[in-house]
Amino acid sequence: MGSLFTPLSWNDTGFILTGILNTVTISVVAIVVGSILGLIVGFIRSESNKYTNALLGSILDVLRSVPLIIQLILFSTFIGILGYNMNPFVTGSIVLSLYTMAFMSEVFRGGFDSVHGSMEIASRSLGMTYWQTVRYVRFPISLRAIFPSWLGVALSVIKDSALVSVIGYMELLRTSEQLISRTQQPLEILIGVGIFYFVISYPLSLYGKYVERKMAV
């Protein structure tokens, strides 16, 4: 272990940085798109009758009951058969975003459901339209309840992004794999990679716990 980072040249560092950048990029895309879609679907489910709710629910269920890696392989195979030449970033983003949406919609739905119906009655009695009650009262109130769970899903997405390497996307874990096979120093490189994920995830999870504590007051 004495020659800890000697085998790593400048090229390698650049390589690793690309991996980091790719991980961050695809995570951010999936979190943003997944949250927006999840918000819409969660809201629709919260306000719908039980039939629409059940229908949407079963579709989302499928996305949550099939391993992400299978979804990635399936989708990219399917795209390939259709004859399109999509680059792994696009394919990965689509699958990861939909996967995120499935979990985010539960978070948002729970948040909206938790706002008491009396808030809507009080707002409407003041003359607000339906959408005004949503925008100025019900949604802001639910956000406070939603935040911790939202953060939890977001952190999972960052970790799940590692799987997109399966379809050829050079995110961090995959680039580290290549380095390992070249330098034959799995432990050091893996530890470095682990530290990276930890450094992103841990402070955010601490922040989430802090917010949760503040809200409980």
């Binding site: 391993p67 195979t77 399917f78 999870s205």
Partner: protein, 221 residues
């Protein structure tokens, strides 16, 4: 779309796929059982501040929760190689899953335990119960109701995460699917069937869990 679906090849290989599914199930079950045992020990260490185990527990939990499962698997499969420990794909995945399960379950157990108001303890003691009786009849049963749902979810998570075995050559469902499709080139059909099988397994697990909970928890929490 110019694709002819050839399902018969998949159905011919069904026995091997089912074998893979079986491996998925038993690695998940094992990872839960071992994870629960470890989580109980770690939780006790953490809540009672037993040095140095409580610090080990904290570090374990935070690493497990803040790094990807795939990372854990690679550490077990490749990383340990640096120490001369070479695990088979099955054991590597098992070790990784146990590590992560234990990490998450510690928090579940801690949360469940701490969510029971101390007034329950006071009330039972004032009825003359011994500490053992308080835990056995009042605290633990209530705790079990609260952790049942999170534990079910953790089990489902284990089943889905075991699919990462495909990347280290393990012969669970995904790994078998990969092997069989590479022999026949019917990638799409095989993976569609695999996806369907995971869906069915997950649904069955959740359904059974719901049925069991109805039997076990007749009253409200």
């Amino acid at each position: 779309m110019n694709y002819e679906f050839h399902w018969n090849i998949v159905f011919q290989k069904m026995p091997e796929l089912l074998q893979g599914a079986f491996v998925t199930l038993h690695v998940s079950v094992l990872s839960m059982l071992l994870g629960i045992v470890l989580a109980v020990l770690l939780a006790i260490a953490k809540m009672n501040n037993i040095k140095p185990f409580s610090s080990i527990a904290t570090v374990w939990v935070e690493i497990a929760r803040n790094t990807p499962a795939l990372f854990q698997i690679y550490m077990a499969y490749f990383g340990l190689g640096a120490f001369g420990i070479h695990l088979s794909p099955y054991v590597a995945v098992l070790v990784a899953l146990v590590f992560v399960n234990a990490g998450y379950l510690v928090e579940t157990f801690r949360g469940g335990f701490q969510s029971i108001p101390t007034t329950q303890y006071h009330a039972s003691k004032s009825l003359g119960m011994s500490s053992y009786q308080v835990y056995r009849y009042i605290i633990l049963p209530q705790m079990f109701r609260r952790i049942y749902h999170p534990m079910t979810n953790q089990f489902v998570w284990s089943i889905l995460m075991s699919s990462l075995g495909i990347l280290v050559g393990m012969s669970e469902l995904s790994g078998e699917t990969q092997r069989l499709q590479s022999l026949s080139f019917r990638t799409l059909e095989f993976f569609i069937v695999a996806a369907f099988m995971y869906y069915v397994i997950t649904k069955l697990v959740l359904f059974s869990a719901a049925m069991i909970s109805k039997k076990l928890f007749k009253g409200e929490i």
